[in-house]
């Protein structure tokens, strides 16, 4: 009784429950998950991936995520990819191509198509490779990803790293040595050290 009355009179510090929420969208790269504030991709938000050239592991970075999302009801959309996805290669990495749809769009309509796909709310992730994209357009994509509760990934050249961006997460892939550098992450400090990226 005495303990109870103490508890009710707010004289006992009860401690705080640690947030144990599982990350909503783990990247599948434990070292990367560890440094990201959300414990994975920022959910329903735009992620920018900055690359020096094609073929540096930019898809490998997403493969665990795509393999996981391909198990869900909502398909993954690729908007105007620069090359054809190799079915055998994707399947070997666990992605069922029956859940991946490709949209052929010209340069001007890539962003329109991406925004529509994000806003529609029926895709789990939308990937695009726009050649030119302005901050205002990135912001639109960010808003669309939020309203459609989808993951948005934009692949851009590394030289755009200096440009400001409304994306929730910006990751740069470096090749020599192979590592990931988080350029911006919403909701937490930017990790100072790059993360080793052993992708093959």
């Amino acid at each position: 009784m005495a303990a109870l009355s103490l508890a009710f009179s707010n004289q006992v510090w009860r401690g705080r429950a640690a947030p144990i929420a599982a990350p909503a969208q783990p990247t599948g790269w434990p070292q990367l998950d560890a440094v990201l504030p959300a414990g994975g991709w920022p959910d329903a938000a735009l992620t920018e991936i900055l690359i020096p050239a094609d073929g540096v592991g930019e898809l490998q970075l997403l493969m665990p995520t795509l393999a996981r999302l391909a198990q869900t009801e909502r398909p993954v959309l690729l908007i105007a990819p620069p090359y054809a996805p190799c079915v055998a290669g994707w399947r070997a990495r666990g992605v069922d191509m029956a859940h991946v749809e490709i949209v052929a769009a010209d340069e001007q309509r890539t962003l329109w198509a991406m925004e529509q796909a994000l806003r529609a709310g029926c895709c789990s992730a939308v990937l695009a490779w726009p050649r030119q994209i302005e901050e205002r357009q990135l912001r639109r994509l960010q808003v669309a990803a939020d309203s459609g509760r989808a993951l948005a990934f934009v692949f851009r050249d590394r030289r755009h790293a200096a440009q400001t961006s409304p994306a929730a997460l910006r990751i740069e892939i470096e090749t020599q040595p192979a590592q990931l550098r988080v350029r911006k992450c919403r909701g937490g400090p930017v990790p100072a050290q790059p993360i080793a990226f052993e992708w093959d």
Binding site: A53, G57, P85, C86, M97, T175, D200
Partner: protein
């Protein structure tokens, strides 16, 4: 049995008016021989100017200098009449056409659409949206419903017992009896239907022959109604003409919306959907542009159909002036409404994947969305194929795991459409070779050694050279 009657007093004029976007100019419908044209019906602005149905055209011209006179077209009226019957078919399987009216049996539809006042409300909404003025009534017999509708809009006799009593106060002149008979009855002093029904049958028969008793029996439901039941047609075709011609695409959108709305109304009447239809733009000199709209699955929602038609029409960009717009639909497959899962985790306003696909296709082209599947060919160029995205995601297609070929090296994630020479410094070979020697049977033989290599920029490439050699290198994919 409960029959509803939709009386359409201005059927011909409404059919003309609905093709003009909310016109405020006086317009009349005229008919009659060339020398003695008379007005059949007038619209609201014309009526305000003093024009009346029945006036000779010359008298009308004296009253109002400028108005549009549209000749009466019996074929057109017939078309609208049948179109509305198709709309009414949504509520009943028994629909029949009467002059300027449609009757439908609604007694059996009550469990589905609620009691008569609710159904009447639905009918009124449908008709108002389609732009047809109407009068509604219900009675246990179709001819009685017709007579009631002519007499008082909105009246209803729901019980067969009350039918005779309900009809008795109708004036003879407006009870649907043939005009000559009604006039004679009036001259005999029988002014209401009640008096006629109470008159001795034998006397009426002697005076009018067998016709009058039969008409009376049909009116009271004592005899079969003798109406041919309407069957909806298996195709949809509707046309709007423009005067003057339309050159601007945006001006076509209003009539297009109207036509698509009619198509949707017709489809819900049939409980069907449409998957493929044609929009035809007629130009001068028998020239026309046909825009095919092909959908991934049958649809019937007016808004969606309009959106997808509009996208395709805008992609057309034919500058020629348009004289008429036509929508044709021949294939009308059954429509299966899509359900949503109660535990669906998508946001509430989410479109279905099909809607998204249609929206993208409407703007980007019919072949813009595709999926990849693999074939049984081991040559990388032919190992995969496009397939237009369809309604449902298909399960495993092509090769399955057991049949997977022995691939020694991993396959890349990006595949170049055709191999290109690898330029720059000699790459550092990481793995390989994997020899591919196949295709001798169809004239495109392949003898290659594939390697995984790293370029000076740190890219991981999938390259090959002729079997047994070390270069020149061809780039075929990226391990992205």
């Amino acid at each position: 049995m409960l029959w509803a009657c939709i009386s359409l007093p201005h059927l011909a004029l409404d059919g003309v008016l609905r093709q003009r976007a909310g016109t405020q100019a006086p317009l009349v419908l005229m008919d009659g021989p060339q020398r003695a044209r008379a007005l059949m019906d007038v619209n609201e602005p014309a009526s305000r100017a003093g024009l009346r149905a029945g006036q000779p055209l010359t008298a009308a011209r004296a009253l109002l200098a400028h108005f549009e006179a549209v000749p009466f077209d019996a074929g057109e009226v017939e078309h609208w009449h049948r179109f509305l019957a198709a709309v009414a078919y949504r509520y009943s399987s028994e629909v029949a056409l009467l002059p300027n009216a449609i009757v439908l049996e609604v007694g059996h539809s009550r469990t589905l659409f609620g009691p008569w006042p609710e159904l009447a409300q639905r009918l009124r909404e449908d008709l108002a949206q389609l732009g047809f003025r109407h009068r509604l009534a219900a009675a246990p017999a179709p001819h009685a419903a017709r007579a009631l509708a002519e007499h008082a809009d909105g009246s209803a006799i729901l019980d067969a017992k009350d039918l005779r009593a309900g009809l008795s106060h109708l004036p003879v002149m407006r009870s649907g009896l043939p005009d000559a008979m009604a006039t004679t009855l009036m001259e005999m002093g029988l002014r209401t239907l009640g008096q006629v029904l109470a008159a001795p049958r034998e006397g009426l028969r002697r005076r009018f022959g067998n016709e009058l008793p039969q008409v009376l029996d049909r009116l009271t439901g004592a005899a079969p109604d003798g109406l041919a039941r309407y069957r909806p047609p298996d195709h949809f075709a509707q046309r709007i003409e423009f005067e003057p011609e339309i050159e601007n695409l945006s001006a076509l959108l209003f009539p297009l919306r109207r036509l698509i709305g009619d198509l949707a109304a017709y489809l819900s009447g049939r409980d069907g959907g449409v998957q493929r239809f044609t929009i035809e733009l007629e130009h001068r000199a028998n020239d026309s542009t046909r825009v095919q709209v092909g959908l991934l699955e049958p649809l019937r929602d007016a808004e969606a159909l309009f959106e997808f038609s509009r996208g395709r029409l805008e992609a057309q960009r034919s500058g020629a002036p348009v004289r008429a717009l036509r929508v044709l639909a021949d294939e009308l497959p059954p429509f299966v409404p899509s359900g949503r899962d109660l535990f669906d985790r998508r946001p509430a306003h989410a479109l279905s994947m099909t809607q998204l696909r249609e929206r993208l296709r409407a703007r980007l082209g019919d072949r813009a969305l595709y999926q990849l599947h693999d074939t049984l060919d081991p040559r990388p160029e032919r190992a995969q194929d496009n397939r237009i995205s369809a309604f449902r995601l298909e399960g495993k297609a092509g090769r399955d795991d057991e049949a997977a070929l022995d691939e020694i090296l991993p396959r890349p994630t990006w595949l170049l459409e055709r191999p290109i020479p690898l330029r720059g410094a000699a790459p550092e070979l990481i793995a390989g070779p994997e020899r591919l020697e196949t295709g001798w049977w169809d004239g495109a033989p392949v003898r290659r050694d594939y390697y995984v290599a790293q370029t000076s920029q740190g890219q991981r490439a999938w390259i090959f050279c002729a079997a047994g050699q070390r270069g020149p290198w061809m780039l075929h994919g990226w391990f992205a």
